[in-house]
Symmetry: C2
Subunit: 243 residues, 2 copies
DNA sequence: TTCCTAGGTTAACACCGTTAAGTAATGGAA
DNA sequence: TTCCATTACTTAACGGTGTTAACCTAGGAA
């Protein structure tokens, strides 16, 4: 009697459908602006049907973020695969991060600028650099230290990682708040600000700033689109269309 | 017949009352969580009375931010008054900024992390460093350049200003998103992260990093409470109580 | 005195997230 | 086969939101 297995499969598929619809809508117009009724309508169900799969709107959002955090980490792993040096890896990671924020601004806002309810990563995600972007960054910092690339007085791994994160996040976030403030403020082009932020980063933190800047240049060549590409997401979305 | 003048005065006072009530409530619990009915109740009016003074909730919030941006700029002006060098001024300004974010997190969120409708500053504010924090920062950067304190290749005033802003904002914002994520992430203490961010900033951007770091140390002495003090706001609030 | 108006009120609207109650289909037990 | 319980959904409804419409009312103007 494989019926219960089939049921389970269908249930999971429906869950996936909801998540995909929610992701698209949230990314388009932001969390607050999207209603449960809308999400339901997009997949041709009533709004209340969603509550059989997620406790409430917030839980749905949280689950979405949880997944996309993992997806996010994957991008980094891919980007540093053939990197010749930890310094270039950090630069590449920074570019991927900024590219993500640029490509999916609403999504970035959701993940890093709204006050989500605290949702600590699940068991397997807590320590796996492939699934947790912070752990990935932390590993990178450890590599930098061990290779002697970091300035000597930077001894606290987490402090260094959080400083890096802060700088990159600052550049990405400023974009989202200020960019549409209009022409009274002479907002410099994204790419200029992004590269300048990374330049600042490596100059201040690396033991050999000149070499580090060359690494950054080479990272800019390796990730020319700022990590815009992979679109595992798009593939998933289109394959969904078949149903 | 001064009646119309009195009317006007009363109208303005009521407007002020609304803004003060809204500020307190928003700062306590955030924009979304506060309702118009609540704001009304706090000042003993019906919710609909507010609509005679502000077109809608968003406009009310925007006006609030507009004012507090000016207030924000004042803090910087006060902090650099007796500064011995532009480099120390930048450090002090950074500390004031971070102190503000620390002391009024909800307010900071409102001003710099929520997507407000575009609200360009009004006529007088657009170019006055005393009333526009960005203009203030920009002036500071100009001073740095003219004094030869900035690295030689930093020629774009706005780009430099925005890089500084990005770094400081990054440190402040990360706090608000991540701090409550719980103990899975070893989040370093605020002060450590804040000073490290500023250290990174001056190291990367100043022509003489060693001297700049000393300036930072001296700024930390000058603004020991991270600019927590002035509380022009508290004074205003208590003086209001008399009515 | 009567009228007009500014500045409030209460009632109501449309919409939100969410819950309660009802329904149609399905698979196993009698 | 019949019956029942479960599952997965639906519609109706609840309390709450921002906002608007309709109504009141004190007080200066005529």
């Amino acid at each position: 009697m494989g019926t219960s297995e089939r049921r389970e499969r269908e249930r999971l598929a429906m869950r996936e459908q909801i998540l995909d619809a929610a992701r698209e809508l949230f990314a388009e117009r932001g969390y607050q602006a999207v209603t449960m009724r809308e999400i339901g309508k997009r997949i041709e169900y009533s709004a209340t049907a969603l509550y059989g799969h997620f406790a409430d709107k917030e839980t749905l959002m949280t689950e979405l973020c949880r997944r996309d955090f993992a997806d996010f980490a994957q991008r980094f792993v891919a980007a540093v695969q053939d990197s010749p040096s930890p310094v270039e890896s950090v630069c590449r990671a920074g570019l991927v991060y900024l590219g993500f924020a640029e490509q999916f601004p609403q999504h970035y806002r959701l993940m890093f600028m709204s006050d989500m309810p605290e949702s600590p990563p699940q068991e397997g995600e807590r320590e796996d650099p492939k699934r947790n972007a912070y752990v990935f960054l932390r590993h990178l910092v450890v590599q930098l230290m061990e290779g002697g690339h970091l300035r000597a007085d930077l001894k606290d791994v987490d402090l260094a990682a959080q400083t890096i994160w802060g700088i990159v996040h600052g550049a990405a976030a400023l974009e989202l708040i200020i960019a549409k403030q209009g022409p009274w403020l002479d907002f410099r082009p994204r790419r200029e600000r992004f590269t300048e932020a990374l330049r600042t980063l490596v100059r201040a933190m690396m033991r050999d700033p000149e070499q580090a800047e060359r690494r950054l240049e080479s990272a800019l060549v390796a990730i020319p689109d700022f990590g815009t590409a992979p679109a595992k997401k798009a593939a998933r979305a289109t394959s969904k269309k078949k149903n």
